[in-house]
């Protein structure tokens, strides 16, 4: 079940957001292609529909036949119209099915990556931002997969089909269409470049104006306390207004690109209509003009806008693509991060070049796993977030089950960093950490501000201790002095813990979190400042709980609290290099 036991194929790196989108699109390529095929069929039916229409019109108007003269044309007309409508429905269906499946895949993949990567990764610093990626960003890819992807194929195929029909009728008209086709993307690129330049120019000011409103809303309490509402009303209005002006400046250029398309479509219809009209009238005699009939003329006229339609659709979906690319670029950071290596050999990160280290290892002759007792062996460890800023160096100590290791030091000395390293969230810069049981076994880690779900006490406990009975839970909570939960004003185990722990004090939340550990104790338990900011009575309960937990496990506690040092067996002061009190001599 555990992720690190699975064999993982070599992780793929994505250089661009586009590569990422393509990678996930390729999983559902068949469905997407079905959508393209349905779209192609639709174009085919469209051509059929208008061929039969033009045929009938010529038959009735020019040859003055009855329209029932050749009923097969009428039937073809109706059938191909129906065929077109049905094909379009299929095109939509395939596109949407693919999009749903692809987005679901990306979301699952992202969850997997979050699971594999270190929880300290920078992109997880703001869970709300990461959640926005997972929900909104991936949602915004919908249009790209369901519409844009098939359409970028159809933007080639459909005009080609129409061009063939037109060429068959009149080569000059086909040449006209053919010439205009490459001009469109050219102009669009030019316009796009101009818009991008404007975008860059206003980028910072735009960001600031865009964030302005939200920031002021977030700080509304402060604004009210400072009696600054009136001033801020003016600001909000002014900021929105400048934002509008800047955006409009960019849009003025950006909208030109669709205008180019519109222009070509209109001009093509107009010039073809005039050319065909004059040819039919007999005013033009050169070229293939004489071969034009009402049938071919009318057909060309009706098909001309359809020649441009796929391109117009593509440009209409263009912002779907831009949104998807933006979202994909945001995801690149997550996808390209080195997944945390969990394999055994990585646990023993030894700096091979460090000959001294090797020597000392030999000298100590550590037997890492003596008779099933939990063991934590830290050797020549250097910790920190990057080799340039080592927080603490040369940490050597050994702790056994039944012992409590207290880590002290000024803030910034690396207490939490050391806990992260022990929890394997952070790689040692040097040296190694050997634990028994190995890193595959769960350990408990309790951060300074414990995580509690916005749910009942029961489900919070169950999440970590699925096997604990309600009776055990009740006992543990009472043991931790949380009797209040079972009091009048509460609902026992069904008491809800509100968002941000509403209704509970910091000390109570800390004890609730500890209850989870007590209900499902692990061999190694890491606690970060479990008693900081707590009152004495809360502290007493926590001391007692730690003493109890200690009997079967190794406790590692980062703390400032002198009271906790009293129950510590080993004391590591990160500010004093020398001397590890009570440590097993190494």
């Amino acid at each position: 079940m555990l992720s690190h036991n699975k064999k993982r194929p070599a992780e793929q790196k994505f250089l661009t957001g586009r590569a990422l989108l393509n990678h996930f699109a390729s999983d559902k390529k068949q469905v997407l292609w079905l959508s393209v095929i349905a779209g192609t069929l639709a174009t085919f039916f469209l051509a059929m529909q208008w061929i039969s229409f033009a045929w009938m019109v010529e038959d009735v108007i020019i040859y003055q036949h009855s329209f029932t003269h050749q009923p097969e044309w009428l039937i073809l007309f109706i059938c191909s119209a129906i065929g077109r409508v049905v094909s379009t429905r299929l095109q939509t269906m395939f596109g949407q099915n693919a999009s749903i499946a692809i987005r679901s895949n990306i979301r699952k993949k992202l969850l997997l990556l979050w699971r594999q990567q270190s929880p300290l990764s920078s992109h997880l610093h703001s869970p709300a931002a990461a959640a926005t990626q997972w929900v909104e960003d991936i949602e915004s890819m919908d249009g790209y997969f369901s519409k844009y992807w098939p359409q970028q194929m159809l933007a080639f195929i459909s005009p080609l089909i129409i061009l063939c029909v037109v060429a068959w009728l009149n080569w000059l008209c086909a040449v006209l269409l053919l010439i205009s086709a490459p001009l469109i993307p050219l102009f669009m690129i030019l316009v796009g470049m101009g818009a991008e330049q404007l975008n860059q120019k206003y980028s910072l000011i735009r960001q600031r104006l865009a964030g302005h409103f939200l920031n002021r809303v977030a700080n509304l309490t402060t604004i009210k306390l400072l009696h600054a509402e009136q001033a801020v009303f003016g600001e909000v209005e002014a900021a929105s207004d400048s934002y509008r002006k800047i955006i409009t400046k960019t849009l003025r250029v950006a909208f030109l690109s669709s205008t180019v398309l519109e222009f070509f479509t209109s001009v093509a219809i107009a010039s073809l209509a005039i050319y065909i009209g004059f040819s039919l009238y007999g005013a033009i005699n050169w070229g293939p003009a004489s071969s034009i009939s009402l049938f071919s003329g009318l057909l060309i006229l009706i098909l001309a806008p359809e020649f441009f339609q796929p391109l117009r659709n593509l440009s209409q979906y263009y912002h779907d693509k831009a949104a998807a690319l933006g979202a994909a670029n945001n995801l690149l950071k997550v996808f390209n991060e080195e997944p945390k290596q969990q394999s055994e050999d990585q646990v023993f990160t030894e700096t091979k070049t460090d000959a001294k280290l090797k020597q000392s290892t030999d000298k100590q002759n550590i037997t890492p796993f003596p008779n099933q007792q939990p063991l934590l062996n830290i050797h020549n460890l250097a910790i920190g977030y990057s080799p340039d800023s080592v927080l603490a160096d040369d940490i050597n100590l050994q702790v056994k089950g039944g012992q409590l290791l207290a880590i002290t030091g000024e803030s910034g000395a690396g207490k939490s960093t050391l806990l992260y390293t022990l929890a394997d969230y952070l790689k040692p810069l040097k040296g190694n950490v050997v634990t028994f049981p190995g890193k595959q076994m769960p350990i408990a880690y309790l951060p300074q501000r414990p995580w509690l779900k916005n749910a009942s006490v029961l489900s919070n406990l169950e999440e970590f201790a699925p096997n604990a009975t309600q009776e055990q839970m009740r006992e543990t909570l009472i043991e931790l002095g949380l009797n209040e939960i079972f009091g009048k004003n509460h609902n026992g185990l069904n008491t809800m813990i509100g968002e941000h722990g509403q209704g509970f004090s910091g000390g109570q939340l800390q004890r609730l979190a500890l209850a989870r550990v007590m209900l499902n104790p692990t061999a190694i338990i890491l606690l970060d400042e479990p008693t900081a900011k707590l009152d004495l009575s809360s502290k007493k309960y926590i001391y007692a709980a730690l003493k109890k937990l200690k009997s079967n496990a190794i406790l590692v506690v980062a703390t400032h609290d002198l009271g906790l040092l009293d129950i510590a067996d080993v004391h590591l002061n990160l500010n004093q290099k020398e001397g590890v009190e009570g440590a097993v001599l190494v």
């Binding site: 079940m1 229409f53 009938m56 019109v57 009735v60 108007i61 003055q64 109706i78 119209a81 409508v85 429905r89 099915n97 749903i100 699952k108 969850l111 869970p127 959640a131 929900v135 960001q207 600031r208 964030g211 809303v217 309490t221 402060t222 306390l225 400072l226 600054a228 509402e229 801020v232 909000v236 209005e237 929105s240 509008r244 409009t248 003025r252 909208f255 669709s258 205008t259 519109e262 222009f263 209109s266 107009a270 209509a273 009209g277 004059f278 009238y281 006229l301 009706i302 076994m441 769960p442 408990a444 880690y445 951060p447 995580w451 916005n454 970590f464 509970f504 890491l526 009575s537 809360s538």
Partner: protein, 553 residues
């Protein structure tokens, strides 16, 4: 949703009218271009035929030709102007909505505002505001354009064939209206469902990631994902069925249009045959229908956003506008204020015996107690940030300057000006000077430097590249928690609050600096009533300072 529609029409009525007019011109030009072209080539074909048959007819080639060119141009220009104009309207609308929302939020009593600091709530707010675009771009312009086009087409056709005009208009109006109502009816619930699922998933993911440290060490991350995956499956299903419903309505509309087109084709061809209308008119009518079809076809996809927009509008709806906001009484500085609290749920000690808090002018009151004893709750009561009903229930008496007052009135209102340093540091995005002088209007730089010096930020500020104009917050310089704390203190020093409530004011600042800052500001503090909240008597408080103390333990 009606609320926002009203706001839209009230504030932007004229622009909507212009925008619709522009969009109509564009669409009208498009349809006309097609019609005129079709008529033109059929007419020329017939004329050409007659000429080659030896008949002499007068056919003006140039009028229709220039008409075609005119429509081609007006369509292109119209489209550009229309898009630009309507997007500008949208941005104006966003501005109106924002200001409106902001005013409404700021009119709320303090206690309801605390939710606004939640980043989760904020991003929802943005998304919801964005969704309101649809009100104009999807629900206003397209249906109006469709109906206007149908009416003008009918008027045009009525000159040629009044009866046909009636049938045509009737049929197309039926299609348009049923497409709109059917789409709303069939997709609204699913749209709301999928919007709310996305919303719940957000909360799930945030919760999942907030617990990643604990879950990961316990190897429970994958186990915990089950909550999210369950909802993801549900979302996939909801979206799939919503998409297929929209596509089916589209299919139905398309079928109706195909039927209409087929019937019209048969009718006009038959009419040509029996010589009721001429061939050119017949082709023109069919092409007109074709042009109208294109406009009507977009309706289902436009209105499929109804549910999502409804969901957003619903969330943004004015929450109890008639909030029983505490009417501010005549504010005057109270010389003394005594509040008695009884059985407040969050202040444990008041459960045992009534808690009396006495504030005397220019005295320092220390409220101490362990975490969770209710210090911040009490601070919120003193500053009027707590729920009114809560106050009514638990405050048994308010005595101001020896006179008992009605409990209905909020406590904080006895002070014209309150300075409150809450547990959170709030630094606004903006310059350092802006942050300090927020709401004070023009203020001299010297004053700013003086207060910065008092909180020992002057050295730091001098080192900044842009000094007082340094941009703080997301897109600017990041400042540490301790610095932010001191900025919030400095901000108050520029003001003249009568009551000052300091909730652990030196959190994140080391003891020595705290003592120095306290010393720097002590003469300023002496002129005000100060309530200080702390675990115990703080070390930075000089031993000779006489204080009143309320213990919550």
């Amino acid at each position: 949703m009606r609320y926002w529609f009203n706001l839209l029409y009230k504030t932007q009525g004229k622009r909507i009218f212009n925008g619709v007019l522009l969009a109509f011109i564009t669409a009208f030009s498009g349809v006309s271009l097609l019609m005129l072209s079709g008529w033109f080539i059929t007419a020329t074909a017939l004329a050409g035929l007659s000429i080659s048959a030896g008949l002499i007819i007068i056919f003006d080639m140039y009028m229709p030709g220039s008409g075609i060119r005119f429509f081609a141009l007006s369509r292109t220009v119209g489209r550009y102007v229309e898009r630009l104009y309507n997007h500008d309207t949208i941005l104006r609308l966003v501005s109106v909505f924002r200001l409106h929302l902001f005013k409404r939020l700021s009119a709320l009593p303090m206690q309801q505002l605390r939710a606004t600091t939640d980043s989760e709530w904020l991003s929802r707010l943005t998304a919801d505001l964005d969704a309101l675009d649809s009100l104009l771009l999807r629900f206003t312009i397209p249906p109006i354009i469709s109906i206007l086009l149908i009416i003008s087409a009918a008027i045009f056709v009525s000159f040629i064939w009044p009866e046909l005009a009636l049938y045509l208009a009737g049929f197309l109006l039926f299609c348009a209206i049923s497409a709109i109502t059917l789409t709303i009816k069939c997709t609204k619930e699913l749209g709301i469902r999928s919007a709310s699922l996305l919303n719940d998933m957000r909360a799930d993911v945030i919760e999942h990631l907030s617990g990643r440290l604990e879950l990961k060490s316990h190897k429970l991350l994958q186990h915990h994902e089950r909550h999210i995956l369950k909802r993801l499956d549900e979302l996939d299903d909801t979206q799939a069925s919503m998409f297929s419903r929209i596509a089916n309505i589209q299919l139905l509309l398309d079928f109706l249009m195909v039927a209409g087109l087929s019937v019209l084709t048969i009718v006009v061809l038959y009419s040509v045959q029996i010589q009721v209308i001429d061939g050119a008119v017949a082709v023109m009518l069919v092409l007109m229908f074709l042009g109208l079809t294109e406009v009507l076809q977009s309706l289902p996809s436009q209105f499929s956003a109804w549910g999502k927009t409804y969901f957003s509008a619903q969330r943004l709806r004015p929450e109890n506008d008639n909030v029983s906001a505490i009417k501010a009484p005549n504010k005057y500085p109270a010389k003394s204020l005594t509040i008695t609290l009884n059985k407040h749920p969050n202040i444990a000690i008041s459960q045992v015996k009534p808690l009396e808090v006495v504030l005397n002018e220019n005295e320092l009151l220390l409220i101490s107690g362990r975490s969770g004893a209710g210090k911040s709750t009490l601070a919120n009561i003193l500053t009027g940030m707590t729920d009114c009903t809560d106050i009514k229930q638990s405050i048994t008496s308010i005595v101001v300057d020896g006179k008992a007052q009605s409990v209905d009135l909020g406590v904080a209102n006895w002070y014209a000006n309150i300075g409150y340093v809450t547990q959170n540091n709030s630094v606004l995005t903006g310059t350092l000077a802006y942050n300090l002088s927020l709401g004070l209007g023009d203020i001299s730089e010297d004053k700013l430097w003086t207060v910065l010096q008092m909180v020992e930020l002057d050295a730091w500020a001098h080192k900044l590249k842009h000094g007082l104009d340094t941009w703080l917050g997301d897109t600017g310089d990041q400042i540490s928690g301790g610095q932010a704390r001191r900025v919030t203190l400095a901000r108050l020093l520029l003001r003249d609050p009568k009551l000052l409530v300091l909730d652990e004011p030196f959190n994140g600042i080391d003891a020595l600096m705290a003592a120095r800052i306290w010393h720097n500001i002590s003469s300023w503090l002496k002129q005000r009533t100060v309530v200080l909240l702390s675990h115990e008597r703080p070390a930075y408080l000089p031993t000779d300072v006489v204080i009143q103390q309320v213990r919550l333990d």
